[in-house]
Symmetry: C2
Subunit: 152 residues, 2 copies
């Protein structure tokens, strides 16, 4: 189905991979960025910028303002370390940074968990539809809201 193998990272390994990717783009892996990445990666469901701000502030005993979190999340998204789930106004860490994909998010309306699937053939079709309408600089947003298996 157009999928391929990924290197799924976890814990420190994931943070290391994220750091490597960010630095490869000439960006710095600062303490604040590391803390925000770790916190985001620690969530099992999409986290809002305010969720992250609160947790990071507590963890570091020092306030991190929401706007700083947004700045850093934007940087992460631009560098594929994280993705934004539009229908949830929230963010997820990318568990395989380095792989560029149009993701499909499946978001459970009951428990809030989001799983993420890659199906390149599907996303290519979406891109094709948009291209046929004359769109450029295409960024597909493919999400599914519903009730997940566990909540059924």
């Amino acid at each position: 189905m157009g999928q391929h193998d990924h290197h799924e990272h976890h814990g420190d390994s994931l943070a290391d991979a994220a750091q490597a990717n960010l630095e490869k783009s000439g960006e710095k892996w600062t303490d604040t960025r590391a803390a925000i990445f770790d916190t985001l990666a620690g969530f099992s469901r999409p986290a809002s910028a305010y969720d992250i701000a609160e947790l990071v502030s507590t963890a570091r005993g020092k306030r991190v303002a929401p706007n700083s979190v947004y700045r850093i999340l934007d940087l992460f998204v631009a560098n594929n370390l994280a993705m934004r789930v539009e229908s949830a106004n929230a963010y997820l860490a990318n568990s395989h940074p380095g792989c560029e994909h149009d993701c499909i998010f499946l978001v459970c309306d009951t428990c809030g968990e989001a799983t993420h699937v890659d199906d390149d053939s599907l996303s290519q079709q979406v891109r094709k539809v948009a291209t046929a309408e004359g769109f450029k600089s295409i960024r597909p947003v493919i999400e599914v809201r519903g009730i997940c298996q566990k909540c059924n």
Copy 2:
């Protein structure tokens, strides 16, 4: 490509069709609902609830509170008279009420215009991916952000 013909409605004809559909579900076509529908249909791009509240308030010389607008928009979405564009936090009137489709929205990041495409084969594939993951009560969100032909 899995599309089919639609009855595209305009102006009064569209409002009439919307009214018919809503009443078919046992809901009433009140003055407030009519005003909100007309205002929404008058927008050429996705309109926020606050946009609508402001215009309707002016048009009727009587304040309509945002929460009332949200209530009525929710009703419209539930009855397929309108759709929510998740990536824009905004709403569009459905120009062919009665047809049940999973829509694909193409939203221009420059001018804000949104065009809407139906491709049942594509949306069926999205549903299939979610079903394969054990999801139920599926509601696909398929949108594309980009730059439209006119803005290129």
